[in-house]
Amino acid sequence: MTPLAHYLIFSGILFSIGLAGVIIRKNIIVVFMCLEMMLSAANISLVAFSRAQGVNGIPVYDAQVLALFIVAIAAAEVAIGLALIVAMFRARKSVESSSLNTLKD
């Protein structure tokens, strides 16, 4: 059986990559994908906890239910987010995050 720490380290690496992507990348679609990656990292750690807390080979399903919720919310978020990105592209002919600075100028 793989120890819990391995899952958590993997989850942390995945989350960090996602966060770095959000911060570094300019293309909003990539940023969006990185956000999804961070959500997945959270899901992985939840499922890992669920298994680690289990008794007699039966996991604690609470955490897995929570993971399902997150997947559902992420799906809804994708729907809204992609719609926003399409709207933004129509307005600005660009999907670069650096072009979203109208208020500053």
């Binding site: 959000v22 911060i23 570094i24 940023v31 650096s98 979203l100 600075n101 500053k104």
Partner: protein, 617 residues
């Protein structure tokens, strides 16, 4: 009830002034009559008191009571002792004569006569307040009130710029002295514990001399302002812009003598031991300097009233010098005689000015002795008294001062003798130029004798100018125990004053002849120009003091305004806010990734705190 009759001295003129101004401002004849009547009434009352009429001590009204024990409460009371009543005789007597003279002098004047007579009545009220006050606070009130009425009357013809300026100058210069006086009153309260004259006696003994000196010199500041002593003498010559009767009453006989009266009153009530040596030397020196400088300046004045104004300054210097030499009785004696003959000289000058169609330059007069003999005769009586010809009142009082000076300090004696010579010179010059020879201008050529309302006061004053120095009047007038008018005493003072008299007359005769000259032979050189320009003292004040204060004051205010208020407070805060805003706006840089970075770091810190620092629940 009857014991409060002396309050009439104050209230009668005050009420009359109010009625004049409020009810009769449109009918000047009634106003003039009322004022004159009130002056005559107070004069009569004063004569009654002097002749032994007793009404008891007037009530004292507490004005500002104090709640705590041991504090001085301010009260309003009257002193009706000999000194005060004799001074009142001068004030009301000359006041009444000046009122009568004004009836003639102001006839045909287009200005508002009700205002003029209301001003005179206000002055009578304020001057009586000074004379009769029983404490320094009340004196101070009168002090300010005479300043105010003098301001009103100097500026009576306020449509003339020179009169308005002179009124302002007189008032402001007096304020300088009054400030010192106020400090002096507070010092007196602190040092003596009282400002009531009657309670000051005998307290000076236990007080440090330095404190006494400071107190006396501060009080003396008030006299320097009001009696126009050097260096605050500049307002008096300019005050001649007012109507001539006003000059006679206020700026020659009474108000300017108030400083001397106040000093003598202090000397009597504090005791001479309160006047320390330093204070005495200061007072006497200021008096002597004023006497000399004013006499010098009078030698080169052409305006008849200015000559008299400088002569007044010089005589006031004499009196102040006598006070400084602890010869208060001599000072008061000279004050009495001077009041009569100087009022006479001014009223005489007023009559001459009116009769010469308001010509004041003596070089445009001439030959007046033939045209208005009675007026000129009266004027000459005054002159003889002023230059101290034996037998006239001024001689006796001047002798008294010279005697006192010789006994105390010979330096001041010789200064006094020198000033007497100068006085003789400039008065002889005035008389020779204005009265002898031929008329030099049509105004003088058409001069006629003055009317009866003007002549009557002149004659009355002329009589007083002669007799007020003799023992039977003087002993009665000067309320010092043991005072005796000096008769014809042979001795050093007599010879010296005769010498200076002869010197002055001979010098003036040599220089000005018998009125044949049409210009001043002494004019033109730098010394006479300096004297004509009042030794540049006024110029120095104008340029150096007032100009400097205004210039530097403006710079300081400019600095405070521009640098402190505009620069630091207004613009400084604006700058600070703007810079702070710029700093914060750098955070709001509009870069989505920047926000994400900050949010990410924030979350990391938040999680770190939650996970590692807060103890596990």
């Amino acid at each position: 009830m009857i014991q409060n009759l002396p309050w009439l001295f104050l209230l009668l003129p005050l009420v009359v002034a109010a009625i004049d101004w409020l009810c009769f401002s449109k009918c000047p004849r009634t106003a003039a009559g009322l004022s004159t009547l009130s002056a005559i009434a107070t004069f009569a009352l004063c004569v009654a008191y002097l002749n032994g009429w007793q009404t008891g001590t007037p009530d004292i009204y507490t004005w500002l009571p104090t709640a705590t024990e041991g504090m001085t409460s301010l009260s309003m009371g009257l002193v009706t002792d000999a000194l005060a009543m004799r001074m009142m005789l001068v004030v009301t007597g000359i006041g009444a004569l000046v009122h009568i003279f004004s009836l003639g002098y102001m006839k045909g004047d287009s200005s508002n006569l009700s205002r003029y007579f209301a001003g005179l009545s206000i002055f009578m009220f304020s001057m009586s307040t000074i004379v009769l006050a029983d404490n320094l606070a009340m004196t101070f009130i009168g002090w300010e009130m005479v300043g105010f009425s003098s301001y009103l009357l100097i500026g009576h013809w306020f449509h003339k710029d020179s009169a308005a300026d002179a009124a302002k100058k007189a008032f402001i210069t007096n304020r300088v002295g009054d400030f010192g006086f106020l400090i002096g009153i507070l010092l007196t309260l602190a040092v003596f514990g009282t400002i009531t004259f009657a309670e000051m006696g005998g307290k000076a003994a236990g007080i440090a001399p330095a404190l006494l000196t400071a107190t006396v010199i501060c009080l003396f500041c008030g006299a320097v302002g009001k009696s126009a002593q050097f260096p605050l003498h500049v307002w008096l010559p300019d005050a001649m812009e007012g109507p001539t009767p006003v000059s006679a009453l206020i700026h020659a006989a009474t108000m300017v003598a108030a400083g001397v009266y106040m000093l003598v009153r202090l000397q009597v009530s504090m005791g001479t031991e309160a006047f320390t040596e330093t204070a005495c030397i200061t007072i006497a020196s200021v008096g002597a300097i004023t006497a000399v400088l004013a006499a010098l300046m009078a030698m080169q004045q052409d305006d008849i009233k200015r000559v008299l104004a400088y002569s007044t300054l010089s005589q006031l210097g004499y009196m102040v010098m006598a006070v400084g030499l602890l010869a208060g009785e001599a000072a008061m004696f000279h004050l009495y005689t001077h009041a009569w003959f100087k009022a006479l000289l001014f009223l005489g000058a007023g009559a001459i000015i009116v009769c010469c169609h308001h010509e004041q330059d003596i070089w445009k007069m001439g030959g007046l002795a033939k045209r208005m003999p009675l007026t000129v005769l009266c004027f000459l009586m005054g002159t003889f008294a002023l230059i101290a010809i034996p037998g006239f009142s001024g001689f006796f009082s001047k002798e008294a001062i010279l005697h006192a000076a010789l006994e105390t300090s010979p330096v001041f004696f010789w200064i006094g003798a020198g000033v007497a010579a100068l006085t003789t010179f400039y008065m002889t010059r005035l008389c020779l130029v204005a009265f002898c020879g031929q008329a030099r201008d049509h105004g003088a050529a058409e001069a006629k004798e003055a009317g009866p309302t003007m002549l009557l006061p002149l004659l009355a004053l002329g009589v007083m100018a002669i007799i007020s120095g003799y023992g039977f009047i003087a002993d009665f007038l000067v309320p010092y125990a043991g005072f005796e008018a000096h008769g014809f005493e042979l001795g050093l003072p007599f010879y010296v004053s005769m010498g200076s008299l002869a010197l002055g007359i001979i010098a003036a005769l040599l220089v000005y002849g018998c009125g044949k000259r049409t210009t001043d032979p002494l004019a033109g050189n730098c010394l006479s120009t300096a004297l004509r320009k009042r030794l540049y003292i006024d110029t120095i004040y104008d340029k150096g003091l007032i100009g400097g204060i205004q210039e530097y004051g403006a710079q300081i205010i400019e600095f405070a305004d521009a640098a402190l208020i505009r620069g630091v407070i207004v613009q400084g805060f604006a700058w600070l806010t703007a810079k702070f805003g710029m700093l914060l706006s750098w955070i709001q840089n509009g870069s989505l990734r920047g926000y994400a970075l900050v949010a990410g770091i924030g979350i990391v810190i938040f999680v770190f705190i939650l996970a590692f620092t807060i103890p596990t629940l």
